[in-house]
Amino acid sequence: MSLPLYYYLAITSIYILMTWALYLPYRVAHLHFMVVANMAISGYFGGYAATQWGWPFGLALLVGIAIGAFISFLVSFGIGDAPTFAVVIVGFTFIYITKTAIENWDVIGGTMGMFGIPVVKNLLLYVYIFVLITGFFIYRFDNSRLGRAASAKFVDRDLATSFGVNTKYLGMFLQTWAGAIGGACGVFYAFLMNSLFPDFFTFHIIGTTMTMLFLGGYTTLWGPLLAAPILWGLPLILPTGVASWKQIIYGIILIVILLLRPEGAVTRKFLRKLQVKLKLVKMA
């Protein structure tokens, strides 16, 4: 496999995972940007563990996932059932705090960054296995009682509560799960880049993953699978003169999609229609 294709696929997988990390809490109408902070914390942890303690990648990944989940779990006690605006503010705050802490902590490189994170053979395979496993569990969640409860809460929190949905526990569960995915992304990112810099984990990730989520479709897990490779890869294949306009192109695409298909390109209605067509084809 050529090196450009390798990096394109690897970064696509990380964007898919990060978009799913936003998708899960958004099932209950939470824009949980704290996953970017989880990504940074676990990424730096993984890098430090590998370079200073000689930890293997697998161990760094497992502990990075656990750290992401744990931090999000703790925070979710306060925002598990909070209004969307509060969840957004908490997320932004954590990103600021994390970036400031990283910049002021010389042990992990400070403003200079962290160098020399080892190369992992077969990293691409590992990350896509993680994508498959995560996608499987998200699919099972979406088609479970919990998924239906999340949908009810998205529409009307009080109605969901009246149906017996524990909205706080549901929010906590989804935020913790999203934190775990964010943590995994951080470790994968660190071992892919082989170095870390504080500016790697800032608001540009939010902008990109939000675009992928809302363009691809925020009501199903398939939207990010479609949007991530296209939106991330588009500027790489456009001619240089056109690629420099990518922010405008993204904006136009976003506006068009929001006008024509507010729920994004891939919606549940679209999937149901597809399912029906496939059944008809099968019957024929």
Partner: protein
């Protein structure tokens, strides 16, 4: 539906194993087959990983202009070994992810590269260049970043703690009544390291460093920071922060009674257009140091300067504009003096030839001065201490740090 999904997942997993079996992290071998006849290069293409869009697009444009100016001059004079040279700007938009993919593309065919710019993209992309054996001119970053990727990168600057202290000492000695200094420092990249080097220079001059005032990267109001600084009763102030912030802090200092601008020293990284457009005449008398002297009176520099002004509505060249201009000339010299042919079948060997030549070039004739390298580090580049007058830098002293 469930069956289709299950089968799809299994197929994807299988495809993943197949990919992994074939995947390589190292660069692909050079693509061209061995030619039976001697290879003839028709154009020397030098890719430049730059930021042509995004937050530092203006700086990227100045760097690109410098590189393309060098290519134009070389082509006017007949090219490199009679073959034209072309600088290709590759925009990373300051995205580390884009930088990795673009660098990965370059590792397959590029003889040599320039950039990346700035540090986040360097951090992401240079490990790929190192693993693939591609030499890249990191000509606008500090030694402390460039050295991490030696010998596949080159440093345009000496180690910070060796090159900066002498010029700060020279400033402090210009005003013997400076006994106590505070320093404004913005926590970004190599700037804290430069601030630490300033302290070395101040202490060498017998000056006491009272305090470091941290400048938040998102600061928009500087009153509290200035009050905190002035409460220490400093005789002098040193600035290691973003250009616009430095100008605003100086304006705030003056509004609170600071009078002697010669007791203010601005570091080189703040020497860009935003400093002068924000500070205006209020900067008159402020001291600043940098690596190039725009007042140099040589035909080559004056031609560069006039051409830059013509293309940028009369604006003086940005201090880093010449860096990639010199880089292109260094590449030219390396190709001509090492017999590099540009034959793709000899890519690996010729990359090493260029690398070794440039890392140890002797008496390279740069736009401003001549210098030599040892293992990728410049030996004898000067620094210049200036005083700002009417938006221009007036040379006060030339300082040559010794790091041979």
């Amino acid at each position: 539906m469930k069956k289709i999904l299950t089968i799809s997942m299994i197929l994807l997993l299988a495809a993943g194993f197949v990919w992994a079996a074939g995947e390589k992290e190292e660069a692909a071998a050079p693509a061209a087959a061995v030619a039976e006849e001697a290879f003839t290069v028709t154009e020397w293409e030098v890719p430049f990983l730059n930021c042509l869009t995004g937050p530092i697009a203006s700086i990227g444009e100045y760097l690109q202009w410098g590189a393309e100016r060098a290519a134009w001059e070389i082509n006017q004079a007949g090219g490199i070994n009679g073959v034209p040279v072309k600088v290709t700007g590759i925009d990373t938009a300051m995205s580390p992810e884009t930088g990795t993919v673009e660098m990965a593309k370059l590792t397959e065919t590029a003889l040599v590269a320039m950039g990346p710019v700035p540090e986040p993209v360097i951090m992401a992309a240079m490990p790929i260049a190192v693993r693939s054996g591609l030499y890249s001119f990191t000509a606008t970053t500090s030694f402390e970043y460039a050295e991490k990727f030696f010998p596949w990168s080159i440093s345009w600057f000496s180690p910070t703690d060796e090159k900066l202290p002498p010029v700060v000492t020279a400033w402090a000695k210009k005003s013997p009544d400076i006994k106590n200094v505070v320093q404004f420092v913005e926590n970004y990249g190599a700037w804290p390291g430069m601030a630490a080097a300033h302290v070395i220079g101040l202490e060498a001059a017998g000056v006491n460093v009272l305090d470091q005032i941290d400048v938040p990267s998102d600061a928009v109001a500087f009153g509290p920071l200035v009050v905190k600084a002035l409460a220490e009763n400093p005789d002098g102030i040193v600035f290691a922060a973003n250009a616009e912030k430095v100008a605003k802090i100086i304006l705030e200092l003056q509004s609170r009674g600071w009078e002697d601008n010669s007791k203010l020293l601005v570091f080189s990284s703040a020497d860009d257009g935003a400093l002068y457009t924000t500070g205006g005449d209020n900067l008159n008398g402020v001291m600043i140091y940098n690596y190039v002297d725009p007042g140099l009176d040589t035909p080559r520099w004056q031609e560069f300067r006039e051409a830059f002004k013509a293309d940028h509505e009369g604006m003086e060249p940005f201090s880093l504009s010449p860096n990639y201009y010199d880089a292109v000339y260094m590449i030219k010299e390396a190709i001509e003096n090492t017999g590099v042919t540009g034959d793709p079948s000899k890519l690996k060997e010729e990359r090493i030839l260029i690398r070794d030549y440039c890392n140890n070039v002797q008496n390279f004739q740069g736009l401003f001065f001549d210098w030599s390298n040892k293992d990728g580090v410049p030996l004898d580049k000067p620094l210049f201490l200036f005083q700002i007058e009417n938006g221009q830098k007036v040379l006060v002293e030339k300082v040559i740090p010794s790091n041979k």
